[in-house]
Amino acid sequence: MNFIAMLRLELLRLRVRPFGWVLLALGIGWLGWNFTLMVGSFLASQVQRAGLPDSPGYVDLVAVPLLGALAQLAFLVVPLLGMSTLAGERRNGTLAVLLASGVPASRIVLGKYAALVLWLLVWLALTLAMPLSLAHATSPDWGKLAAATLGLFLMLASLSAIAVAASAFTSHPALAAVVGLLVGLGLWTLNLGAQRAGIDDGAINAIAMSTHVQNLLRGLVSSTDLLWFVLVIAACLALATRRIATDRERG
């Protein structure tokens, strides 16, 4: 039950803080603008595409690029939303109160992580509502859309875990945001050099986040990609839990 109490606390804090709403509104506004441009370009190219066999459809030209835009935004928004989860508690002195209340470190971390992911799910749902609002007028590839949505969800969940872990190691939320941003970008661009050199396989590509997200955005769901996200999330949450547990030892 401690987990539910922590989840409720964090959701309540996210709900009443203007910062989360401002980020959500700015993000949705920017994505809405992108969506309008994408729909315009989709309509403009309709005649050209009609003559092509296997031409890209609504999902390829509107829905997936929109989710791609959300992914770009997520690198900045997720660390900003997650920076205060644990660093803010430590800075406030409330982390010690939570630990003294008998809440295990794992429940504190999981509760805060789950709240952040739920908040980002709202963001993902609102973004997805844009292409879905016009889906009745087209014949979308539902399978590809589902895979891309799963990819984005897993990416947001991974970035959230990174943000929570970064937040667990400091009492300065701004520092946590910078570390979260750098680690997220680092994981994404890890294989940039290899890709430019034309290397499509190898360990560096397997480690990079971009490889796994791009597969899902293309509609390819593989257990390797899913396992990568599960491992990153589990590792980050385990690190965060360990760090919070050592707060009692370090003081």
Partner: protein, 251 residues
């Protein structure tokens, strides 16, 4: 050195804590029974807050054992912490939550639900004189009001041991008097109370025993006669200036 207690609620046995290679709390042994009020005195840096943080489980002792209600804090950390209410020195709050939301959160973390949670919240608010501030944001409270809010949160689950770290910080004379009355009422109801303070007058007014810490070591423990501030002052200043209590120096 111990406070004699037939059924001790709190037992510290050679408890110590090291920081930066120095013992900030050194082999403190102490017992406190139900209904007793112990004042923990000492100059700044004497180790009072560290001792209290170890008692509530926010810090882990490097040596010794802490038992609360007969249970070992290390072996049964969750069950033991449920017996303790803690008012930390800085009275940390979540500024974006209201007073009522604080109580609801603390209650849920302590396992209270539904009508029991509401009833406990109302009683704690009344006890802390905060009923009319129920809907006020914690960030808008004065330091004294935050102290009272944290006291209400600490009392919510009717703890067997109440730990107060500088409880009179920021309180006006009216609420300071009310706090003393609350402590006496709680003690009469069987709650063991341990409070740290710089104010010798406060100690003589509400405590039936005092313990004086100096450089991490317990130098004096004993009962005090109500209102006998002069004797306490002599002992305190002797220890603060010479590091030993008058009886030990005479011997």
């Amino acid at each position: 050195m111990t406070v004699a207690a037939a059924n001790p609620v709190l037992q510290l046995d050679h408890v110590g804590r090291r920081r930066a290679g120095r013992m900030v709390v050194d082999e403190v042994t102490l017992e406190l029974g139900a209904g007793q009020v112990l004042g923990l005195l000492g100059v700044n840096g004497a180790g009072k807050s560290t001792t209290l943080a170890m008692i509530v489980g926010a810090l882990q002792p490097d040596m010794g054992t802490i038992r609360i209600g007969g249970k070992d804090l290390t072996e049964e950390p969750i069950a033991t912490r449920q017996l303790v209410g803690w008012l930390p020195e800085r009275a940390p709050v979540w500024p974006e939550l209201t007073v009522a939301e604080h109580l609801a959160t603390h209650g849920r973390l302590r396992g209270l639900r539904g009508t029991a949670l509401r009833a406990a919240g109302d009683a704690a608010l009344a006890q802390a004189g905060m009923t009319e501030l129920r809907q006020r944001l914690a960030g808008a409270l004065s330091q004294g009001q935050r102290q009272r809010l944290c006291l209400a949160c600490a009392l919510l689950h009717r703890p067997a041991l109440l730990v107060l770290d500088e409880p009179a910080n920021g309180l006006d004379p009216v609420h300071a008097a009310a706090l003393k009355q609350t402590i006496r009422t709680l003690a009469q109801g069987g709650t063991a109370v341990i409070l740290s303070t710089h104010l010798l007058a406060e100690a003589t007014a509400v405590c039936d025993h005092v313990a004086i810490l100096h450089e991490g070591r317990l130098r004096h423990v004993g009962a005090i006669a109500a209102g006998d501030q002069a004797a306490l002052e002599r002992t305190f200043f002797e220890i603060a200036m010479h590091g030993a209590n008058p009886a030990a120096r005479a011997a």
